[in-house]
Symmetry: C2
Subunit: 321 residues, 2 copies
């Protein structure tokens, strides 16, 4: 830094501690103190190198709606001999959940897909050009195939562009060894819906409530456990081009562009609310065991990432109009 005469432009850093639990307070913070975050462009964490050591960039993230479901039918658990005449919270919850998704992976909430905008031709082309990670996924998860028998580009398009309705947790009654003949008073579930542009979590939550009511499940209580908007950067943005060109200079190869991750982060709040162009520059590698035991960073990836960030900053200061 001394050699180059210091940092060539102002830099703001933002580290958020709530990202893993849904960034629930970030929209309010930005609404309140957005001026503090204003910037000409944003480097987002994420990206790095893939299994083939190609550099890769994420240009968006899915949104998420996390929902807690609970059903109470009795004031307390009953002996299961009463199952002949007393209502069951467990059956009730199952029947309610069953109305949400069919066996062909179609989400049956009225209007669930309405807001979705088709990906741009560039985004589609980018997904078609992504490496085929199917064999790695099959091995990692010990499965023989994917939903609906998908493979190839169709599989990657499903992962990138389709929303989900996932059951993250189910809980009712007795779950230890052997049998306890109990009729549980309560049953609960947690779901997360991954959302794609331009779906909005609170709109989906409202539609879910209407869906349950329409099917006669007014007694099934739901609450929002997390809400993040989806976001996808314009692949033609000059900022994306600058970050991609510098990546190519550092890594010696053109980066692989992912229009959006299948996962979630609060990119919308910066890219859309504050209108800052965003591109990722990261130090990830599949061998780093992200979010798993023994998560690590190799020195090589760390240094490549640092050099990439430095080159982005230098080039930005020099070229950005």
């Amino acid at each position: 830094m001394d050699e180059r005469g210091g940092v060539p432009c102002n830099i703001k850093m933002f580290c958020e501690g709530e990202e893993e639990s849904g960034s629930i307070n970030l929209p309010d913070l930005i609404a309140e103190r957005g001026d503090d975050f204003k910037a000409d462009a944003c480097i987002w964490e994420g990206g790095g190198r893939n299994l083939n050591d190609d550099p890769f960039m994420y240009l968006g993230l899915k949104g998420v709606l996390g929902v807690g479901f609970s059903v109470r039918m009795l004031s307390g658990d009953a002996h299961s001999s009463y199952a002949a005449i007393l209502p069951s919270a467990a059956w009730r919850l199952l029947q309610a959940l069953q109305t949400i998704k069919d066996q062909d992976e179609k989400i049956k909430i009225d209007g669930f897909y309405d807001a979705i905008t088709e990906p741009t031709p560039e985004a589609i082309a980018a997904v078609e050009a992504l490496p085929d990670d199917a064999p790695e996924w099959l091995e990692t998860f010990g499965v023989s195939g994917f939903v609906k028998g998908l493979d190839g580009e169709d599989l990657r398009k499903q992962l990138t562009f389709q929303p989900t309705a996932n059951i993250a947790g189910l809980d009712s009654g007795y779950q230890d060894a052997g049998l306890k003949t109990v009729l549980p008073a309560v049953a609960s579930a947690k779901m997360d819906f991954r959302l794609v542009p331009e779906q909005r979590p609170f709109d989906i939550f409202k539609k879910l409530r209407m869906h349950l009511d329409k099917h006669g499940f007014e007694d099934v209580e739901i609450e929002v456990l997390g809400a993040v908007n989806p976001y996808r950067t314009d692949l033609n943005s000059p900022w994306v081009q600058l970050v991609a060109e510098t990546a190519e200079e550092i890594y010696g190869r053109k980066p692989v562009m992912t229009p959006n991750m299948a996962g979630t982060g609060p990119m919308f709040d910066f890219g859309d609310t504050l209108g800052i162009p965003i591109a990722t520059s990261g130090i990830d590698h599949p061998s780093h065991k992200i979010h798993a035991p023994n998560e690590n960073i190799t020195k090589e990836d760390f240094l490549l990432g640092a050099k990439h960030a430095a080159l982005i900053i230098e080039r930005f200061a020099k070229d950005w109009s």
Copy 2:
């Protein structure tokens, strides 16, 4: 006992420690050492006085089939972003369970109801004569109504004569506070099916397996967690009459006869396998909090029960041919 010159007949007592967990070893014990259990008649625990202080007798018990369900779709839990392309154990389990019972409480396993024998006119009349406990049940369980809107005799007939398909436990993924965006690798459930004469638990288990296979759920694993045959004593049996008459002498009122409890016990193994006539004489009272915290016996009920047992024994020795 000294006053009367000792016990007037031979008495065998059998105390079983496994009744609460399904008496799984009792049939084998009886097959092996049935001669040790041979007797002219049997007094079964159970019964006592009801809320109105009428003496009551249980003349049978439902059977039970306990089943553990488990589904594994992945070698380990996945980040829920993969829900777009990876199969879900939780959804799979729900879909399988959903085929077992419809919203009108009808169990949809082929042949489930085939073996059921209609209750005798005496058994039906006995249920019609039972006191109406509906108000007490509504209060105890904090509900405003029963399944299918049942009440009166229909409610008591449903509880006494109908089999059940109860979910006793559900378990998958993350169940603590907040949201964890996980796609669970496994999901499990426990069910108990209360059975009525002449249903047989292992026959029902076989039919359940065929049912799951028929609906394409070969991958849903099931195991037997408990198996007890149902049993209903003949209300016209001379032994039942003797026990009822002595109850009337001790309690000063005719006993209320319940053709069978809604719960389960291994009465079949004595009544059917060994061919011993069975009637209950017990010391229960709703205020005793059976199976609940602070379970108790009042001295009054204990003494009434002891006197009833003594009179049964004396009368048996004198009158039984």
